[in-house]
Amino acid sequence: MSAHEGTAEAYRPVFTGAAVTELSEILSRFPTKMAALLPALWIVQRERGWVSPDAMVEVAEQLGLTPAYVKGVVSFYTMYHTHPVGKHFIQVCTTSPCGACGAEKVVDALLQHTKCGELGATSPDGRFTVIEVECLGACGFATPILVDDDFIESVTPDKVPQLLSQYR
């Protein structure tokens, strides 16, 4: 599970200690520093739960890029969070094959039982955020969902309460 932080406190750098070693090992795999950008952003998100503007500046400094360049890349990819999200982040596939198998009812059940109310919103207790995503690449196991890094196949509305109870 990822740690999460608010925006109010002073920025604490991500790349200290073990994260520095991890980043230098990643840099050794590529002929350019820029190529470590996506992996570096994953490290930031793992450590902080999202990629804040301050973190983009830090990553830019680490890799010899400009903050604007980093922001341009972050905004291209949908999996980097540019604002804090709930403790557990739920992604539901609703593309046509899953849509034909009832994915929208799974979305409704998740919104209801997490008390998120609407897509993209975080539940009042801060535990969950639910979003719709495009094809998760497991169409034969409709409806697949991702809860944080747990990939769960064949979710149906009746399984939702039990499933959510595992994420406190």
Partner: protein
């Protein structure tokens, strides 16, 4: 298949033989099942000899385009003094397709072996396996397999004790369908936005980091070790129809059908048998209405077309579609085609990188119009506008994302026009209305 169901007697399990067998995931388990014999053999051969075997086998790319693999490898010129790279496309994101996911989660060493073998064949010391960010389990399994292969000396400075250096690195994508396009994938590896590049230059001339690069799909690379061990003639003999389509292919079946899953058949297998025997036919009380046979980017087939198709590269084209990635999406008579096509258009609108006007604007406008028709607010003129937009979205952009959005729209209107017209004249969705009446 092997997982979640046992293989059907009509399947030809080569790549999927060990799906569902956790023992096959480990290095020891993989070696006990014949793993790494092909790599050992290949490292003792010259790259040119390997390329010739693959050429002779007739193997064609399994990612969607069907380009001959041996020919692609032969574009990599040895001794040009430049570093060569191999990119492995494991960004499986084409709606309807989930075969590479099964390969990686059950037989990760098959991909490590195929990758190392291909790297040697194209003169590359470095290979990058780019796995989509959402594939958390395949990522974990592949990382463990690569680690095992390094520890055993299969990868590294002296691969399997030979003078050849082979490094394999795994990269995690971050949520972008377009990164499955080969040049977008290379940009993504380089730490850039995943915008496709204008070709030429083709990857063999200037690919990742501007160096000669070959990019192959997961399934393609996993077929190669079998070809090396069993011979090109054996592979070539695996064909039930066209001599231009050889070997076995994994087809992912999904949508409204009895037994969704991955099925491996010899190319040229009758699609009717695939749909009704292997996949178990429709759900109880339902009839099949339409099939998208090669991932969402290929034209929709009517059942008449589908049931007379032979499953190979030429067979799908002869019956109004394409083999594509082998992602078979089946819709039964409870499904509204307009709704499904509108949802696919929304997918492409969401995934457009927005470089090209025709795609950026076309995917968005077709989505709006299709959703309007689905709500019962469309006009007959909308159908003409959709076709005109689709025409302008086909063959006019840097990559084929825009064409892919147009394919289901054009084929959908051609083959299911009555359903579109019923939405417009009845001012509501007739399929949903019929389902509601049946439930009442």
């Amino acid at each position: 298949m092997g997982y979640p169901h046992r293989s059907h007697p009509k399947e030809t399990p080569v790549l999927s033989k060990h799906f569902g067998d956790p023992q096959a995931r480990t290095l020891d388990g993989w070696k006990q099942r014949g793993g790494y014999r092909a790599l050992e053999q290949a490292l003792g051969m010259t790259p040119a000899d390997i390329v010739n075997v693959v050429k002779d086998s007739g193997l064609r790319g399994r990612g969607g385009a069907g380009f001959p693999t041996g020919l692609k490898w032969s574009f990599m010129k040895p001794g040009d003094g430049k570093p060569h790279y191999l990119c492995v496309n494991a960004d499986e994101s084409e709606p309807g397709t989930f075969k590479d996911r099964e390969i990686m989660r059950w037989t990760p060493h098959a991909l490590v072996e195929g990758t190392a073998l291909a790297a040697h064949a194209i003169g590359a010391e470095t290979a990058y396996i780019y796995i989509r960010g959402e594939f958390t389990e395949p990522l974990r399994v592949m990382e463990a397999a690569v680690k095992e292969a390094y520890a055993a000396g299969i990868l590294g400075a002296k691969a399997m004790g030979t003078p050849h250096r082979i490094d394999v690195h795994i990269l995690r994508g971050a949520g972008a369908y377009i990164c499955g396009e080969e040049t977008a994938l290379m940009n993504s590896i380089e730490g850039k936005r995943g915008n496709p590049r204008i070709k030429p230059p083709f990857p063999a001339a200037a690919g990742v980091f501007g160096m000669p690069t070959t990019i192959n799909n997961v399934e393609t690379l996993c077929a190669v070790p079998h070809i090396l061990v069993n011979g090109a003639a054996w592979y070539k003999a695996l064909s039930l129809s066209s001599p231009k389509s050889t070997g076995t292919k994994l087809f992912s079946a999904c949508g409204t059908l009895a037994r969704p899953g991955n099925y491996e058949v010899t190319l040229g297998f009758p699609f009717k048998d695939f749909l009704y025997d292997l996949c178990g036919g429709p759900l109880p009380g339902r009839r099949f209405k339409a099939v998208i046979p090669g991932g969402s980017s290929v034209p929709i087939q009517s059942m008449e077309e589908a049931e007379s198709t032979l499953m190979d590269y030429e067979g799908f084209v002869a019956k109004g579609s394409m083999l594509g990635s082998g992602g078979v999406i089946v819709f039964d008579d409870s499904v509204c085609m307009v709704r499904m096509i509108a949802r696919l258009a929304r997918f492409y609108a969401h995934e457009s990188c927005a470089q090209c006007t025709q795609c950026r604007e076309g995917t968005a406008w077709t989505t709006r119009i299709l959703e309007r028709i689905e709500r019962g607010q469309g006009t007959m003129q909308d159908l003409d506008v959709l076709l005109e937009l689709s025409e302008n979205m086909t063959g006019k952009t840097i990559c084929v994302l825009s064409d892919s959005c147009a394919a289901p729209i054009v084929s959908g209107i051609a083959k299911f026009k009555k359903e579109f017209e019923a939405h417009i004249t009845g001012k509501k969705c007739p399929v949903t209305a019929a389902a509601a009446a049946a439930a009442a």
